[in-house]
């Protein structure tokens, strides 16, 4: 029997103490900071704007859809923004007749699970250019719904400027971060197959996900093209973790894809059971939920951070927390918002923002271009079990390695093949009647599809700032977006679609549909880069240990510090960087140097 995360919220915690560290946000970055700092024996206060939830009570992962009153869908008073992102401008939900308006992730199947995990846009508006901003306010944040693809970055990313002259290099190289990737792998568990690629380094893998027939065929085909299809590198423990009593190993129930992520046996990494619960067991961690932080407080004389101010999400009472160091891990955009909101005489442009770069160099992944088809040999074959695993496959980047493309940087594909509980062919098969029904049945196991994720260039002009007028439900000024895809993204997207077709044609798959359309900005849920790291305080916000250049006892430990987006998914890098920075911080605190 797995131990569950306590769902009780704890409004009254000790706020008279000056903690060694206060952490804002409990997702991948905040959870990791809590784990590392408490392991060093430091006293830590972790503030989370949302509630603690017991996943096992809200995620009925093995419930059949017909046993749920709405077949797993959200209740009628909920509305999922999908098309709105492309036809309207923010703020999106202001005139909506629905009680709860949530991001597009609610439109996925089985999304009743995430209705309490993602924010209501009516309470949390924003302005400016369109952006599909998926936010989770709950203990664990977006690790409760993440897609689990856990990739490493390489020097092709950290030193990308050396290769193509664009943007900035990271202040670290792969050799600096490699031992911390190893630590994250071993502490949290990761599944994958080693490929020995310099541009997609291997992890300390547990048992890999297996490939089915069509996937294996595509892997073999791509080998001939010098490209690599590898089993999904999942942030999932497939062999189990002896040191964590809150997590089970993966039992291949196929539940991952049915519930917008989420794992009620916690085989998939989530911050509450992977990091926070073990940190609480050290006796060094205090968790305060329903705590919406709106300002980093500052000592007038020294300009150093003294703690944070927060409002209780339920009682609307204001509180102050005091700490020797402040770590922001509220998510790339919320951490930037918090820095910009924290204006004082010492920091008139917002805390840590003497460079003027906070909110800028905002980047992410562009997605949308995709291909879907069938492997003809599999049509009408006996049923196979294809979804009993945390993911299908990943195609590693292949552009701008040796030859130069007409765009900068690269992209990879995520994909999978075979049938699922509710077959995709039910929606794509043409016509009606017996022929339609037979088509759905015969083709369900033969389907294969993949979609691309590409690096969006970190450009200074892509930015968020504070809206001068609009406030959220708590009276806190909201973000205004000034962010758009550019020419490089458009060229890359066109190439993603062409290359996808080319690979399916080479594999002799029958292509049913393909798209070269980019989904709206934000769709990848991989926002990065609003407080980038660097060696030069004039052009970067934090140093290589994620410490503010201006305020030595302020750290930013989430995706905000990424210098470029890479095309590889960010979660594992967020945690490896955070671990490295917190080791360094613990050392500095010991020496009294912050």
């Amino acid at each position: 029997m797995l131990l569950q995360f306590p769902a009780a919220n704890n409004p009254e915690v000790d706020l008279k103490t000056t903690y060694d560290a206060v952490i804002v946000g409990s997702g991948a970055g905040g959870g990791m900071a809590a784990h590392v700092l408490t392991a060093h024996g430091l006293k830590v206060l972790l503030l989370e704007a949302g509630k603690a939830q017991d996943t096992s009570k809200i995620l009925h992962s093995m419930q059949w859809p017909y046993d749920h009153p709405r077949r797993g869908k959200i209740p009628p008073e909920y509305h999922a923004l999908t098309n709105e992102y492309s036809i309207r401008k923010p703020p999106y939900a202001q005139d909506s007749p629905y009680k709860n308006v949530q991001s597009y992730v609610q439109a996925w199947g089985g999304s009743d699970y995430s209705k309490t995990l993602v924010v209501n846009e009516k309470e949390h508006p924003y302005t400016g250019t369109r952006y599909a901003w998926v936010r989770s306010r709950a203990v664990g944040g977006k690790t409760n719904i993440w897609g689990r693809l856990a990739l490493r970055l390489s020097d092709y990313d950290f030193k990308a400027k050396d290769r193509d002259g664009f943007g900035e290099n990271w202040p670290i190289s792969y050799a600096d971060i490699e031992p911390y990737y190893d630590k994250v792998d071993l502490y949290l568990g990761i599944s994958g197959h080693p490929e020995n690629l310099p541009y997609l380094p291997d992890s300390k893998f547990q048992r890999p996900v297996r490939l089915n027939h069509a996937e294996m065929h595509l892997r073999e085909t791509l080998k001939g093209m010098g490209r690599v299809l590898t089993p999904y590198r999942a942030g999932v423990t497939t062999d189990g973790l002896k040191h964590n009593k809150y997590r089970s190993r993966c039992y291949g129930r196929g539940a991952c894809s049915r519930h917008t992520g989420g794992c009620d046996i916690h085989a998939a990494f989530d911050s509450p059971t992977g990091l926070i619960r073990p940190a609480m067991d050290t006796g060094n961690l205090t968790l305060r939920t329903n705590a919406t932080v709106y300002e980093v407080t500052v000592d007038k004389n020294t300009g150093k951070a003294t703690g944070v101010s927060f409002i209780d999400t339920e009682t609307r009472k204001n509180y102050q927390a005091k700490a020797r160091t402040v770590l922001l891990a509220a998510s790339t955009l919320e951490s930037a918002r918090l820095m910009l909101l924290s204006k004082s005489s010492a920091h008139p442009n917002g805390i840590g923002n003497s460079s003027g770069h906070v909110g800028h160099n905002f980047c992410e992944h562009v997605m949308g271009p995709s291909v879907a088809g069938f492997m003809k040999e599999l049509v009408g074959k006996p049923r196979t079990l294809d979804d009993g695993r945390p993911g299908g496959f990943y195609v590693a980047r292949f552009r701008n390695l040796d030859k130069r493309s007409d765009f900068l940087r690269a992209y990879g594909y995520e994909g999978g093949s075979g049938t699922t509980m509710i077959p995709g062919t039910a929606y794509t098969s043409p016509g009606f009647g017996e022929e339609y029904k037979k088509h759905v049945r015969d083709y369900a196991g033969a389907t294969i599809s993949m979609g691309a994720f590409g690096e969006v260039l970190a450009r200074y002009e892509n930015a968020v700032g504070i809206d001068p007028h609009m406030k959220d439900a708590f009276g806190i000024p909201v973000l205004r977006f000034s962010y758009q895809f550019g020419e490089n993204e458009r060229k890359m997207a066109a190439d993603m679609a062409v290359a996808a077709r080319e690979m399916f044609e080479a594999a002799k798959f029958e292509i049913v549909s393909s798209s070269d359309k980019m989904l709206p900005e934000g769709w990848s849920i991989h926002e990065l880069g609003t407080a980038r790291m660097g060696n030069d305080p004039k052009t970067s916000v934090v140093n290589q240990f994620q410490q503010s250049h201006d305020v030595k006892n302020l750290l930013v430990v989430d995706g905000a510090t990424h210098v470029s987006a890479s095309c590889q998914n960010p979660t594992w890098t967020i945690m490896a960087l955070c671990w490295r920075s917190c080791d360094n911080l613990a050392e500095l605190l010991k020496k009294g140097e912050v």
Binding site: M62, W64, P65, Y66, R70, R71, G72, P76, E77, H79, P97, Y98, K99, H193, R207, P208, V209, R210, L211, N212, H213, E215, M216, R219, T230, P231, Y251, G252, R253, G254, A255, R383, T384, L385, D386, D387, G388, R389, T419, T420, M421, I422, P423, A426, Y427, P430, G431, F432, G433, E434, Y436, K437, K438, V440, R441, A444
Partner: protein
């Protein structure tokens, strides 16, 4: 527990059974005529064949009726009612055959233009979800093998 309490409980249970059964199977939102047409259309889209039973047996119309009945925005209700009326009109035309009418509506299903075409696409997608998420659809029709605890996924090692 004494006998009187058992009797009280029994009569309570009796009442509970009686109340909702007053109108057995009555639709929650659609009129009986609308419901009959809806049921007929869903069965045309996913019929009973040699392999398994179809939408009627899977209770697809009842599922759609339940979801439309609890729709939060009135538009969602009226669009279903309007759509059914459109199709009804087409079926009432002299010499109209239901299969031929649906074939025409399905011709543009990827990019529907008329009200009736748009309704067909909505009806088909909803019918597909309701059927393939039903017990009949998942087990009898599709023979889905998952949602079980596996020791190891069958497949190929990548090496």
């Amino acid at each position: 527990m004494d006998r009187r309490e058992i009797l009280k409980l029994a009569s309570g249970a009796f009442l509970c059974l009686q109340l909702p059964a007053a109108e057995p199977g009555a639709p929650l939102f659609f009129t009986p005529d609308e419901f009959e047409l809806l049921d007929k259309l869903t069965e045309l889209i996913i019929p009973t064949d040699d392999h398994s039973s179809g939408a009627h047996a899977a209770g697809v119309a009842a599922y759609i009726d339940r979801t439309v009945a609890e729709a939060y925005v009135p538009d969602e209700k009226t669009s279903w009612r309007r759509g059914l009326a459109e199709v009804h009109k087409l079926l009432e035309e002299p010499g109209a055959q239901s299969a031929a009418v649906l074939t025409k509506l399905a011709a543009n299903e990827k990019d529907p233009q008329t009200e009736a075409e748009k309704f067909f696409t909505q009806l088909k997608q909803t019918t597909a979800f309701a059927y393939y998420s039903s017990s009949l659809g998942i087990h009898e029709e599709m023979g889905y093998l998952g949602n079980v605890i596996l020791e190891q996924f069958k497949g190929y090692d990548a090496s």
